[in-house]
């Protein structure tokens, strides 16, 4: 998911209909530049070299999304194909998926296998402390900034719940909201990481960890 507003104009994106390094190619109607979908980068045309600003999003299943966002709207046009369900993770195996984040030439990814084992991983992204969290109930992964009090908070899964070590507050892994404890009501800032096929991720970001 990307912002369409650039400094000069609002872009309208369409499918250009080809594949470049395993990533779908988009075009914008305004300048006819080509953009790769995986990294939001203009690879050809007047805007070549520019990056679209990524918007945080989450890939999860419908019932889980609804549970946490009951007043959500849905973009819905009739469709028949029902193939992409949570069962693809079981079918293809957790090893086939990563949660990845990229910016310019930097990219980092965490395998679903490792995430399913640990639940919460403290890491760094572009020099800032981040939290990678995996909800085993819905097989959903998210990336958040770790807020600093004096030091950045560290998180653990305790009895299936996401808890920070410093204050003992309890956090909802999918929304990043503190539901109980001293920090209740606060929200972690989500970062624009995407759930991707492992092979597609490393084809587009060969230098990713």
């Amino acid at each position: 998911v990307y912002a369409r507003q650039t400094e000069e104009q609002e872009l309208t994106l369409g499918v250009a209909g080809s594949v470049f390094h395993g990533s779908m190619v988009l075009y914008d109607r305004e300048t006819k530049s080509f953009w790769t979908q995986g990294d939001g980068k203009a690879v050809e045309g007047p805007l070549a070299g520019r990056l679209l600003h990524p918007i945080p999003s989450v890939l999860t299943d419908w019932q889980t999304w609804l549970r946490h966002h009951p007043s959500s709207t849905v973009a819905l046009r009739a469709y028949a194909n029902r193939g992409m369900t949570r069962e693809v993770y079981e079918f293809m195996g957790l090893g086939s998926f990563v949660l990845g984040v990229s910016e310019g030439n930097f990219a980092k990814a965490w395998g679903f296998g490792e995430l399913a084992k640990n639940g919460a991983i403290q890491d760094e992204w572009l020099g800032a402390p981040v939290l990678v969290v995996f909800d085993k109930g819905s097989w959903t992964a998210r990336l958040y900034e770790r807020p600093r009090t004096a030091d950045p908070l560290t998180f653990h899964i305790v009895e299936g719940r996401l808890v920070d070590e410093q204050t003992g507050s309890m956090w909802q892994p999918l929304t990043g909201r503190a539901e109980a404890g001293p920090l209740a009501g606060q929200r972690l800032k989500p970062l624009p990481a995407v759930t991707s096929y492992r092979s597609a991720w490393y084809e587009l970001h060969p230098d990713s960890n």
Binding site: Y2, L13, G14, V15, V58, W62, S72, R77
Partner: protein, 150 residues
């Protein structure tokens, strides 16, 4: 005529058709010259049938289909000086419904969820995945213009 990528290949098609006609003539002549019970006669006959099929196919494509027939696949406002023309116009008009009115989505289907400025919206992956031209949706959420892609 030239702005359409399919139509731009017409000289190649015409050349191919010419070769086929030439092949047909040669085959017919050799067929007439060969003895009636020769095995080669059947070889020539099948070659002639194949050539005729290709010719009929080519003629029906070029004569029966006009450039207008491809117009649904082109957007006249999206072509470049290098001859590239968009096959699909950008998708900008997806209906937005409250979640309660979306009973047709199965509970385990994957969705892309976005939350902007307090507004939450889900985009079913299967909807974005169904047709090539719907793999990118232009939307506005929380006052911000976004593109949702899968």
């Amino acid at each position: 005529m030239m702005e359409n990528t399919i139509w731009r290949w017409w000289p190649v098609g015409t050349l191919a058709a010419g070769l086929v006609v030439l092949g047909l003539l040669v085959t017919a002549l050799r067929l007439l010259a060969s003895p009636l019970r020769s095995r080669r006669r059947w070889g020539f006959a099948s070659l002639a049938t194949l050539s005729a099929a290709v010719l009929v196919g080519h003629l029906s494509l070029t004569r029966l289909l006009r450039p207008e027939d491809f117009s649904g696949y082109t957007t006249p406002d999206a072509s470049r000086s290098d001859g590239w023309t968009a096959l699909f116009p950008p998708w900008t008009d997806c209906p937005i419904r409250p979640a309660a009115a979306a009973s047709q989505i199965n509970s385990l289907e994957l969705v892309i969820g976005v939350e902007l400025d307090g507004d939450a919206r889900a985009y079913p992956v299967n909807m974005l995945n169904e047709r090539a031209e719907r793999k990118a949706l232009n939307d506005v959420l929380g006052g911000q213009a976004i593109a949702v892609t899968f």
